[in-house]
């Protein structure tokens, strides 16, 4: 049996994806990602990204975390949203419940005002999904534990074969 500190289940994944799709449609943004604050990518919707999305998620989390520390230094609890403006592409980051961050990429086909408005609505919806997910983790049954005790052994074998001088 393998259990992580947290897990995304099939139904929650699709609920998150639907919320992200709605957000993209209503805000005319190009991409939306959900990441956790340790830098793990949870979900991505929208245009196929032309860059390394794993690194991107890690840097977004670091960006958010650095700004969280800056907020604390100036006496704020946190900065719940961040905005990075580029000449063509821009990013809008917003905190969701339980250390999850929503990242929206958009270009000149929309405006910051519209993105901000739609993100606010999406954040409420995503907050509910994430909170429910964490409640479920408290009381989950065994149906999701699809790994048997050989799992770690199999991965260890994989590690041994990959990491060789």
């Amino acid at each position: 049996m393998v259990r992580a500190e947290w897990a995304i289940f099939e139904e929650d994944y699709w609920a998150i994806n639907n919320a992200l799709k709605d957000l993209l449609r209503s805000s005319n943004s190009t991409s939306a990602l959900l990441i956790d604050r340790t830098g793990q990518l949870i979900a991505h919707c929208g245009d196929e990204l032309q860059f390394d999305v794993v690194s991107f998620a890690s840097l977004c989390a670091a960006d958010f975390e650095a700004n969280y520390q800056l907020a604390k230094l100036i006496g704020e609890k946190d900065f719940s949203t961040l905005y990075h403006q580029g000449s063509n592409e821009s990013m809008y980051l917003s905190k969701i419940a339980r250390d999850v961050v929503l990242v929206v990429l958009f270009d000149k086909r929309t405006t910051l005002g519209l993105v901000r408005l739609r993100v606010k609505r999406a954040v409420d919806e995503l907050c509910t999904i994430i909170n429910q997910l964490f409640e479920k983790l408290q009381y989950r049954n065994e149906e999701y534990d699809t790994f048997d005790e050989n799992f770690a052994q199999d991965v260890e074998n994989e590690i041994d074969s990959l990491f060789v001088d």
Partner: protein, 205 residues
């Protein structure tokens, strides 16, 4: 914080290389990056100063392949070694699943090792984490240098809890994969034995 995504069938874990400045944390990750197969590794991200000192972190995602239908991925991070970047060090530890402490074996760096270890404890406490409950591996790097302190002495001062340790010469690759394998395996065993939402417990090798 390990994350299992049942929909995209992925398992992600976070490993952090910690230690004093110029101890070889980045060299460890760089060696791994140079040696693993291209399909295994992602982009190596380095946020460094002009002098090649780590400013924020180095980041390397490693994909182990598919086991029982799940892609298993390790995210390797280093922290900046210099004390005045402590804010960056602290935030990299958020959600850590396993730690490698890269100690510098040189006699002149003995105090720096102790200071960095103390700092690690302090920063973990701020995240409400306990080193005794996190997979942890000690690496004594720079064993090739003439003024390297004997391992027994380093063990006595830096590793009284007797966590697993490896001797290394990171720039040559000696001990780099042994260290990584040890911590990665501990993390997976931890994942297998821990309960959802519960604090994770370190499993001895």
């Amino acid at each position: 914080m390990s994350l299992i995504n049942y929909a995209s069938r992925e398992i992600n874990c976070k490993l952090v290389y910690y230690g004093p400045g110029l101890g070889g944390k980045t060299t460890n990750i760089q060696y791994v990056y140079d040696k693993v197969a291209p399909e295994t590794k992602g982009k190596l991200v380095t946020l460094a100063t002009e002098m090649d000192r780590t400013l924020f972190f180095d980041f390397l995602p490693l994909e182990l392949g598919t086991v029982k239908g799940f892609k298993t991925r390790f995210h390797l991070y280093t922290v900046p070694g210099q004390v005045y970047y402590n804010a960056s060090r602290k935030l990299i530890l958020r959600g850590v699943d396993g730690i490698v402490f890269v100690a510098d074996s040189q006699e002149t760096r003995f105090d720096a090792n102790i200071e960095a270890l103390y700092n690690l404890h302090e920063n973990l406490t701020e995240h409400r984490l306990d080193l005794a409950k996190i997979p942890f591996v000690m690496q004594y790097n720079k064993r090739d240098l003439p003024d390297a302190v004997p391992v027994a002495e380093l063990e006595e001062e830096l590793n009284p809890e007797r966590f697993p340790f490896y001797e290394a010469v990171a720039f040559q690759g000696t001990g780099v994969f042994d260290t990584l394998k040890a911590v990665a395996k501990q993390v997976l065993r931890n994942l297998q034995s821990s309960g959802a939402g519960a604090p994770t417990a370190g499993a001895p090798l």
